[in-house]
Amino acid sequence: MRIAGKGLIDRSKPVRFVFDGVGYDGFAGDTLASALLANDVRLVGRSFKYHRPRGVLTSGSEEPNALVTVGNGAAAEPNVRATVQEIYTGLEAKSQNRWPSLSMDLMAANDLAAPFLGAGFYYKTFMWPSQFWEKLYEPIIRRAAGLGALSGESNPDKYERAYAFCDLLVIGAGPAGVMAALVAARAGADVILVDEDSRMGGRLLAENCEIDGVPGVIWVDRVLSELSAMDNVRLMSRTTVTGAYDGGTFAALERVGHHRAARHAGLPLETFWRIVAKRSVLAAGALERPVAFRNNDRPGIMTAGAVRAYLNRWGVVPGQKVAVFGNNDDAHRTARDLLAAGVHVAGLIDSRHNAPDATGFPVYKGAMVSDTTGRRGLESITIRSVSGEDKLATDCLAISGGWNPTVHLTCHLNSRPVWCDDILAFVPSPSGVPGMGVAGACSGAFSTDRCLREGAAAAVAALEALGKSAPKTQIPDAEDAPYAIAPLWAVPGRGRAWLDFQNDVCVKDVKQAAVENFRSVEHMKRYTTQGMATDQGKNSNVAALAILADVTGRAIPDTGTTTFRPPFSPVAIAAMGAGAQGKGFAPERFTTSHAASVERKAPMIEAGLWYRPSYFPVPGETTWRQSCDREVDMVRHTVGVCDVSTLGKIDIQGPDAAEFLDFVYTNTFSTLKIGRARYGLMLREDGHVMDDGTTARLGAHHFLMTTTTAAAGQVMRHLDFVHQGLRPDLDVAMVSVTEQWAQFAIAGPKSRELLNGLFDADLTDAEWPFMACGPVQVMGVRGRLFRISFSGEHAYELAVPSRYGDSLFRTLLARADTLGGGAYGMEALNVMRIEKGFITHAEIHGRVTAFDIGMERMVSSKKDCIGKTMSERDGLSGADREQLIGLNPVGAVKQLTAGAHLFNADDDPVRVNDQGYVTSVAYSPTMGHMLALGFLKNGRARHGQKVRMVDHLRDLDALCEVVNPVFFDPDGERARG
């Protein structure tokens, strides 16, 4: 029911929205909860386990009951708190966890079975038979329980991530927060003030109070307009700080689009912020807790502070005859505000015998509410006192069990809150988060005056730490009412008294947990699911552990709290992963030949972040194998062109460059002549192979190293470490130039013919022998030529600055076409390197040594190098090692597979008989059958023997002959010739 003249809503802007298919009217400024209450809609959801009717409990983000699904289809958003969702014209919301409808929920039968469904019910009941769990029990439980469901469709909404930095982050824009921001801003600090509400002001929007002689709302709006006019202040509303992290880093979720009717093309739905602040002030306020008593969960029962908020901020009264029940002075404020607004107050029930008097409504001192009635909403309450039981007709009960400071963020770095007997609540430990001050209700200061003073003081302390002088600030006049409270967690009596409204955890469940020896608060939580709902126990945890303390005979501080972890309130995975959906998951690296390759219809495959052509199909080819076989044949007989730019290229210069390379490579580079390249092997310090590649000497003090594509980052890191960490005495510098140079392999018997004509002078064997390198002029462009070969053919690699890559690739292809050659892709490249027994990271996978791959002689005995000492350990060489071998199929073998294991021909293919494994396989068009590379125990001594290859996963079993891993042209005549 709406009260005339009350509230901060804009009555000139009516808003029409739909809930469960029915249209309702509200006003701009309404939340879905306030608008539904204004329309006398009390039943808004069902509880998780018993499917009990649920109404709005709170007026903030801590709401456990009023969860709805907003929107339709792929854009539907489940578990939206109606207390946070602002209404807009066209808003469509639906209730959840009910079937077939909210008022007639068949699953409410669970409620009748409640005596059987207490704490630990699932654990005890569905123990056996074990195979029933997956097939029967779990699906049934999952269908019965659960809240809103995801649409199952791809999320069409846009999310963003953003970063911000400031001197002072103020969290919460109530009286303490705005005061802190004001003092710091006036001193010139760079301030960010965040608040999770759509409108800043905190409880000042919800209370009937005055500051400096004007209503609190007016005062706060004045301060906010002063702040918003300042360049050094950023105000962020609808933004929840969800976590505190090391180094003054905070996570915050900004709801950008949830309150807008149309999803703006440019605007995200949510933005996930990382805010780095030199100092912070937490002014997050406090959350009111209910009292547990029999049937305290009916729609119409709300926290007293929420009733006040609906009245003062939204002009809504959630009932005709309101009763108030509490154990503290704050409850009286609700009754007074209602009375002043002309609402009938049926009575105030105060558990304290010394409760203050009041006029205008009856006060039941020393009394408690012991039960309620009303199937889909509250109808009456039972009041128990020393004189007996009374029934009182009421349709709204405002309850206050006291206020809990919102300590959450102070605990995110593992600090525990401290119990304060004065307010019967936990307050932040002073050492919670480095650099963070705490002010106002979240530190236990509940009067407006104390909030303002603490806010100002926290700002002054932060300014001091920032080295700024604080201006003298006048603290505005405000109420400083005392807050008296007496303990009351649960009203004694039979029946179910709810603690966790969403998860249906009752007082008896906590007691049952203690009886079954789940006495630790963390065990109790997990046994009962107390505090595991979407509100994470904000409404119920303190009461639950007070009850646990009572039944286990401990004090509350000794019982302790469960652990507070981020996020403070739910954050969609889509928001946290903003920017990482779809192609944002990994950046794509394209070579300069990408466009030309795609034009030739080459399917692209990923190599790390790079995309490389798999093969280049020509008309008539329908399978990759046809293209691959043709390309191999082409390179072996004419010429092929392949982009090899993705290999890591590291430019190394300096007087000590050669000495440096001698230290990182197992073999010697100081003896390498200028204009020559050499194959190099690199170990890790533990003696295993890290990477291999060709390094060219371009000058006395200038080398160009190449690395495997996938290891480029690792090798760069390693070189920087060896230089900076181990040999800073060496005068050498290095930088990755992978992306600066486009490099193409030109391989095959006609490779020289292809290249001749591109350069100033023709290539000759005398000037360009195998492993020669040097500068060339490529049609006027300064390039580099390397006579190296990964195919085993007479081959070159030609590099030009990347901006010429596309043009050069097209030129090379045009020339190859005229010679009967063409482009080749990764598949053909792989086949040819297997034919030649060249290793890749399929072989040097991190567990192999130089000995294993037959390169132990490359570890120079004349010098130290990284990994040398450890490579000499026992067990890293010798006959027991699995050594690189080639495998030829014997007989009618159709397939060899990488990952298959090797066994002696007569042995059972079981683990104890394992002799090795296959690392790479290919069909070799050159040899006419499949080939494999692999590792075999004592393999080099077993050439000619037969072994059995078994792939247990693909169910393959094949006999193979062990051979030299260099299948093709073992003497390397073709590359040299």
Binding site: D246, G247, T249, V276, R717, F721, Q724, L726, K868
Partner: protein, 91 residues
């Protein structure tokens, strides 16, 4: 977590690659013996308290940095370039 790179200033830890204990800077001589090499390559303390480890400013200036930090409080006490912490070279 924020790390102060001696070149680039205070930066988010995601710009850095974490390597491990700064022990890696104290490479033994080739013939230091099995124990010294085993300790250098494999043995690491797991202190509850102050530790020194190596971070690489991979998305920044490529510096290797010795970060002194407290594993209990997460406090970062010092950040020094690895090349500056090497007083003498042991090769």
């Amino acid at each position: 977590m924020r790390i102060t790179c001696p070149f680039c200033g205070e930066r988010d830890r995601r710009e850095f690659y974490y390597q491990g204990a700064a022990v890696a800077l104290e490479r033994p001589v080739a013939d230091a013996g099995e124990e010294a090499w085993d300790a250098y390559v494999h043995l690491r303390d797991n202190p509850a308290g102050v530790t020194k480890d190596l971070w690489y400013h991979e998305s920044g200036c490529s510096s290797w940095i010795v970060v002194t930090r407290n594993t209990v409080t997460h406090e970062i006490l010092d950040c020094t370039l690895a090349c500056d912490t090497k007083s003498e070279v042991s090769i």
